[in-house]
Symmetry: C2
């Protein structure tokens, strides 16, 4: 770690480390009666308070010590969004161990790889994932025990899982007098693996300092804007980059927390939104599609839901329009990544936008927005030269900041930074007002005759066609232009759509040379562990596709 | 400084120090075109952008180096809120020196004491303060030069001030290529002296870390709630605890900044609010009284002003009601002190208050509010025993947090903390929801027969009487009860008010034994350097006052 020179005159302020335990101790003390409501895997609704949660997190920390978990050792979770998972967030990190949240949507062999690589000592799991645990338990050499997140009455029998324990018994048996230890704030707090489309997953190892700073920054009005007047339902999973930091930013803001468990379909979410008075939520576009469809098809309306943050991948403009114009839900488009804890930018309007016509405001809101203070960003060409912020020049996006990784956990990749900046793998423009617009992944950008074509813009246009359910645009080899865009489309059930009609739909919406050279129709698109379309698989599939222009 | 143990596993995040220069570099880069508008001492309106401001701050940093100012050395300002003062905020602290903002309302001998105690190397001043500088320049031994904040055309002649320089010449002559140095974030950044009512002023020495953390925390929605959609006018002076941190929290939020200069009367403020579209402001109650009176007397309304933070002393309920009910300005009651950078609490409603009747909501808003995450607080009895949070038990208020002082600059007082907590000198209750209510200063509380009577509550009731302009309540000696309350009142010009009528006004508003024993009428009340009523002087004045109950 870098040591910076000290001034001959140091400040005379209290020297307190930024620790995750301090967030929860604060919530328990200052917002002790504020509720945490969870839809459990068991099926019922569970409710208690920040005070209760912190008390159980301290009992859990005690139990972990009893199991022999030491400072810096990894404890894994395979769990949905719920109060027990939150107790693990605080109990594990707060006690000085490292919380390793595993994405259960990964393939079992990837999970086994991750558990081995992280050298997890214990694994806590929701009953949903019992079959996966049964499959992999004998492969995971470092794991000393498995803990089922349930009470004795729900414990599975005859599982064949070695050292299977019951969470509620573990917590119940522990005394509540655990005092959160104080240690260097740069100590590791949690670990999250990226689900790379190629190669093995790589671990981002967050520190207490990075987590607390990210929590402050992400709660600010320009970002997630979380306050004690909010009731927050994180749809984004706690196994996906710490649910975008909401398990930290919500308690420090004193907002009520509502966890949806495993029921993420439109109907279940809508009912929970209404029953608990949810005002704010956050998640990836696909979840909102499901919720919005449920609401529209059943002619419902939201009573309290007023604001959502959409990230993970670009929000289709049609979805944004429906949320804002028909359902009166404010949409904050955000961008980040596992390596950024994850928040990099969020899109809110500035004081100068207030006087703009609604159409122009909407055009701003479609961008990924402004860097949050703490994050710096730049766009560069293939040689690393910085490019202008003019809203049209495309470049590779690089970032830095105190909640950006400096490397990967136990990686032999060498320095992953470029001159101290982290290469995001995204391609973007930045306009004169500082608004970022992600146009593509560096590996997905279509290089046509030396110029770049952004695949996401082309997909968004296709998605706006009423007969299109899903669309992906990839570059395929072209003898003259090196690459040209090919559109792969899934039609809406029961709807007709001809190749020529879809291509005509691009007229006037993009430059002529951006219009895809061809369209193929498919029954479905390949989707990876985090719900994103796997374009590398599409490229393999259509590598030999002969374009009519070739 | 405390060193905390490191974990065997440290996080792998970028190691960047939290430095004040990073706020401004961020604003210049990401909100480069956002405006800073200042009413100058010269009389005109000056406007430029964050980009311009940062460029000049770098030139200033270069100039300071040229003057021989070294890391950790103090540079003083005696200046109003304006863009040049902001350049000093960043240029001085950013370069590693320490910005010492002096309150010009202090007595000249206090100012000379402070300058000597701080060992200020240079003093930058607005022309308003030329007479004060002329008086004290020869007394201040450590000061190597004085810099007038103006251009050559406004430089005063024949002042007798040694080493008098012109700010604009200094900045103009410096090259703009200064690179902000990187150093330990706990290094001293700025210095602010408390204007203690007794004894010499004491210096709070803020660090870069405490300032940046305070900026994050104070920008959050539960606190000042600053966003890029705001146009912010800090009425609270930049010489008063860094204008409550707004010169930091506003740029990092990308809001437009409007500085009022020396013109703080109702008419000047109103005109600037309207001309610049101010949406948010912050200041002490007396300033709002002037502004509100101007607006009401001239039958005006605010076009854009929507929210204000009121602190420094308790907001009179009548003022709060007028702002909210008649002028539709949201009032955030806040509490803090010089030793807390200054923000400790802010009062906003939680999700559970939404369903309450307006009257009950207002009762919550009259409190000083909730601790901001980072600050912890407790109330204790005379022996240091912690008291319950029930909304009625009074106790001495103690605080801690990373932006609370651990001691005073060059002080021989010894440990000012109690068991690691800073004693605020305030008396308060905290209710079950965590809302703080300051009821008095520890030294102003009236101790009647072993029970405490809060002087502020009694003053607020008197202030609500239509014939009362100002009121102060003090304890005076009583043979049986040790102390009993005496009310000192200034009547509104041309209005009649009898002692008996005012005492009858308390009926049903407080417990019988709280009703003051007597009322005396005065032409004015003594006021100190920060605009607060000097109760110690009142106590001296009325020490011999014979209560009718004695």
């Amino acid at each position: 770690m870098t040591e910076y020179p000290m001034s001959p005159l140091m400040g005379q302020m209290m020297d307190q480390p930024l620790l995750i335990s301090s967030i929860f101790a604060f919530a328990a003390r200052h917002y002790g009666d504020t509720e945490i409501v969870s839809r459990r895997v068991e099926g019922d609704i569970h409710r208690y308070t920040y005070r209760d949660c912190e008390r159980r997190a301290r009992k859990l920390a005690h139990a972990l010590a009893g199991l022999g978990v030491k400072t810096g050792e990894r404890v894994a979770t395979l769990a949905w969004n719920g109060y027990r998972h939150m107790e693990l967030y605080y109990g594990v990190s707060g006690s000085g161990a490292v919380l390793h949240t595993i994405n259960p949507r990964l393939h079992p062999e990837q999970i086994a790889y991750i558990v081995d690589h992280a050298e997890d000592q214990f694994l806590f799991f929701d009953l949903t994932f019992l079959p996966a645990i049964e499959l992999m338990a004998r492969q995971c050499k470092t794991v000393k025990g498995y803990v089922a997140l349930c009470g004795r009455e729900h414990m599975p029998a005859n599982t064949g899982i070695p050292m299977l324990m019951c969470y509620e018994e573990l917590v119940d048996a522990a005394p509540p007098d655990f005092a959160w230890p104080q240690f260097d704030e740069r100590s590791a707090a949690s670990l999250c693996y990226t689900s790379g489309t190629t190669g093995n997953p790589k671990g981002a190892l967050y520190s207490h300092r990075s987590t607390v700073l990210h929590a402050y920054a992400s709660a600010m009005p320009n970002a997630l804007n979380v306050s004690s007047s909010d009731v927050v339902l994180p749809v984004v999973p706690m196994f996906h980059v710490n649910a975008w930091g909401l398990p930290y930013s919500v308690p420090l803001s004193g907002a009520k927390m509502v966890y949806p468990g495993a029921a993420l379909d439109g109907k279940s979410l809508y009912e929970l939104f209404e029953a608990e008075g949810v005002s704010f939520s956050a998640g990836v576009p696909t979840v909102w599609l499901g919720l919005v469809n449920h609401v529209l098809q059943n002619d419902l309306r939201f009573s309290t839901f007023r604001r959502t943050v959409i990230g993970g991948s670009a929000c289709p403009p049609a979805l944004m329009d429906t949320l804002i114009d028909r359902l009166r839900v404010q949409v904050v488009h955000a961008w980040g990544m596992t390596e950024m804890s994850p928040l990099g930018t969020a899109c809110t309007l500035g004081y100068r936008h207030a006087a703009l016509p609604a159409e122009e405001q909407r055009a701003v809101l479609r961008k990924q927005g402004h860097a949050i203070y703490g994050v710096d960003m730049k766009i560069v060409d293939d040689d690393g030269g910085e490019l202008p912020w003019d809203g049209t020049t495309y470049g590779h996006l690089l970032v830095k900041g105190p909640w950006v990784v400096s490397g990967y956990y136990r990686s032999d990749e060498g320095d992953v930074l470029q001159d101290g900046w982290f290469p995001t793998g995204d391609v973007a423009t930045i306009d004169g007002d500082g608004y970022l617009h992600i146009t593509d992944r560096s590996k997905d950008v279509i290089k046509s005759g030396g110029e770049w074509i952004g695949s996401i813009d082309l997909e968004n246009i296709a998605m706006a066609h009423p007969a299109v359910l899903q669309a992906a645009c990839i570059g395929v080899p072209h003898p003259r232009w090196s690459e040209r865009p090919l559109l792969v489309v899934v039609r809406r059930p029961g709807m007709e759509l001809a190749r020529e009609d879809l291509l005509a739909f691009y007229e006037g919406k993009v430059a002529k040379w951006w219009v895809p050279d061809d369209v193929v129709f498919a029954d479905s698109l390949p989707v990876g562990g985090t719900g994103k379309i796997q374009k590398n698989r599409l490229r393999d599939l259509y590598h030999e596709h002969r374009l009519p222009t070739a």
